[in-house]
């Protein structure tokens, strides 16, 4: 297929002949995501080891910050699945985070104390919304997808802000800290910070391994093909729409898990959970860690959360720092920290 260089064509990423060295790097980073499992596995294992000893490095504030980083990591992971594997930039992934947080808060306050019922409600609601919204957003191509997801999250945020029944701009407070019956006879008490931390870490590891597995199947291959050239995939007999939609719903559920847990950590929910700031922070985090790596967003989330906490204790200006990180990574390190690490190790092994 002849590629022309009209602006409209650039909505299919990475397919124009004009490609700078920078974006070639990005391309390499994306392609090698699934191709170097051994290197990535060692990196993942060492990260997991660090995460496992992490709670003993500091006090309870430290642990709770760690939990928060992991929860933000779910949103970043869901951004990464969409952008890194399906080529869809979502600027409204906080919609599912916020929705799940509100459902979780409302059910714990008024309906039930059963974690599993809350989980079920979140799965169903988020599934239904992401199916409907995804069907609309995916039909619109390229940047329109970003704008629709942005607009939809904005609507949800406005609704939460303006509905007095769910607390309006103040949100909801006083959400109880539940005990979760994991197995018959074993109850997990979330009031215990350590238990809380390891619970979230364990679920995140399961999600990570699950997604790695899913993306290594034929589904993942088709998805990558869709990302690289959406126009050509139908000729191979696959309908890109369904693959993107499934990826979208999966990603929404992952962000929703973070939202489900968040009110249990902080004891409150507020309209800003739907907001632009969380959606975009998730994109920064994914970008900093490395798009298309699944692991990068989790690493990036921990780095950014702690960086913000440190910067925040010196100055109020953490938004400026966040913006500056964004600019630097977009312009100079488009494949993120993981890509940087990979380039460094590759160069070393290339020399030896």
């Amino acid at each position: 297929m002849l590629q022309t260089n009209t602006p409209g064509m650039s909505t299919t990423p990475l397919s124009t002949p004009l490609r700078s060295r920078v974006s070639q790097r990005l391309l390499q980073a994306l392609q090698s995501a699934g191709c170097e499992p051994r290197q990535l596995r060692w990196f993942a294992i060492s990260m997991l080891a660090i995460a496992a000893i992490f709670p003993w490095l500091g006090g309870s504030f430290f642990i709770r910050l760690g939990i928060e980083a992991l929860l933000l990591g779910t949103v970043a992971l869901s951004v990464d699945i969409l952008l890194g594997y399906a080529g869809l930039l979502s600027l409204g992934q906080a919609a599912y985070f916020g929705l799940a947080a509100y459902i979780s808060a409302l059910m714990y306050l008024h309906v039930t104390q059963s974690f599993w019922l809350v989980l079920l409600a979140v799965l169903i609601t988020v599934g239904a919304l992401s199916l409907a919204l995804g069907a609309v957003a995916i039909r619109a191509k390229g940047v329109y997808f970003a704008l629709i997801t942005f607009g939809a999250a904005e609507i949800l945020s406005k609704i939460a802000h303006n509905t007095r029944a769910i607390g309006g701009s103040d949100g909801l407070i006083g959400i109880p800290v539940p005990r979760i019956p994991l197995l018959p006879g074993i109850r997990l008490d979330l009031a215990d910070n350590l238990a809380f931390y390891y619970f979230v870490l364990a679920v995140l590891v399961l999600i990570y391994l699950g997604m790695r597995r899913v993306l290594d199947t034929g589904f993942g291959s088709v998805l990558r093909a869709v990302r690289d050239n959406s126009d050509r995939v139908p000729y191979l007999g696959y309908n890109p729409f369904w693959y993107k939609l499934l990826a979208y719903v999966l990603a929404a559920q992952i962000a929703a898990f973070g939202g489900l847990i968040y009110p249990l950590l902080r004891g409150f929910v507020a309209p800003h959970l739907f907001g632009f700031e969380i959606s975009t922070k998730a994109v920064v985090v994914a970008l900093v860690g490395g798009i298309g790596t699944l692991l990068g967003p989790l690493v990036g989330s921990v780095i950014i959360t702690f960086l913000e906490s440190v910067v925040g204790s010196y100055t109020e200006r953490h938004l400026f720092v966040l913006g500056a990180i964004f600019v630097v990574f977009v312009m100079f390190l488009p494949d993120g920290l993981l890509g940087l690490a990979r380039r460094l190790t590759r160069r070393r092994s290339g020399r030896s």
């Binding site: 009209t6 329109y144 704008l147 406005k158 632009f276 966040l322």
Partner: protein
């Protein structure tokens, strides 16, 4: 019947006039957004913050004694210059990349955060009032409108018409439209594309700055004013068709009426939500907006 007429006259009509004024100012911001997208394929998320900077620049210039008339001339130039800096330093290096629509969107988002925070550092988080040059109220057929708002309306409409004329009736416009369709072809005629892009950026950002000056005496200035306005401007650009001049003008006027009239019957905060719902509906029915992109037909 009598009741209905007076309801239309005294309730609906003033609301429509107000909405017309907001719509015209909204069109200024959205026009810059749509031109930049139409030519460069860049969604400028910092556009709202340039509008905000316009408001603050007006506030600062008035404080230094430049006067309103000084501000209305200087601010668009100043903001155009800021936009030019953004284009030179940030956007230009990213343009050759195949995924430029996405990376420039991310870049301008980062810039937007930095601008907003800078405004908070320099001017604080509180709201600043800006004095209007006129204070009188005009009354036509018993409908009262502040003269300043009529002034905003006439300036906005004049600039909108001038922009339309520039794009569709001048040589510069011909170059702009051609560049939107086929930049290599335009370049092969010996026209420096990078100056076409710079011109578009300066002009578009200048429009946002102008809107900032014009609206600052009406809404006052505060750090998040850009974000709120940007979301609305996006709705306009999406409904009108990204990159369409005519579509953007019509959509701005239309959506402002939707919001204005709806807030007569439902709370204003819900009227805003309604605008986004209209946007989503348009996207469902016609994913590429209601009108053609600049340069196409």
């Amino acid at each position: 019947m009598e009741d209905l007429l007076s309801y239309l006259h005294f309730v609906v009509l003033p609301q429509m006039i107000d909405a017309l004024i907001i719509g015209a100012a909204l069109a200024l911001v959205a026009l810059g957004l749509t031109m930049i997208f139409g030519l460069l394929d860049v969604i400028n998320l910092a556009h709202g913050d340039l509008y905000m900077l316009g408001g603050y620049a007006a506030f600062a210039l008035l404080g230094w004694g430049a006067g309103y008339w000084g501000a209305i001339v200087l601010v668009p130039l100043l903001i155009g210059l800021v936009g030019w800096g953004l284009e030179e330093a940030g956007i230009r290096p990213l343009l050759p990349r195949g995924d430029r629509a996405i990376v420039t969107l991310l870049l301008t988002f980062g810039v937007s955060l930095m601008l907003r925070d800078t405004a908070q550092v320099v001017w604080g988080t509180e709201t600043h009032a800006v004095a209007a040059p006129f204070t009188g109220i005009a009354s036509v057929a018993q409908v009262f409108v502040p003269i300043y708002r009529l002034f905003v309306l006439s300036i906005s409409l004049a600039v909108i018409v001038a922009t339309w004329w520039l794009v569709y009736r001048t040589r510069i416009g011909a170059v702009l439209r051609a560049t939107a369709v086929d930049p290599p072809m335009v370049a092969s005629f010996g026209i420096p594309i990078r100056w076409v892009y710079s011109f578009t950026f300066i002009y578009g950002c200048g429009l946002a700055g102008l809107a900032g000056v014009l609206l600052s005496p009406i809404y006052a200035v505060f750090p998040t004013m850009g974000h709120d306005f940007l979301v609305l401007a996006f709705a306009v650009v999406i409904v009108g068709g990204m990159g369409s001049i005519i579509g953007t003008i019509i959509a701005a006027l239309f959506l402002a009426q939707v919001q204005g009239l709806a807030s007569l019957w439902i709370p204003p905060v819900w009227a805003e939500t309604l605008v986004y719902c209209v946007m989503l509906l348009v996207l469902v029915l016609r994913p590429s907006g209601l009108f053609h992109r600049i340069g196409e037909a």
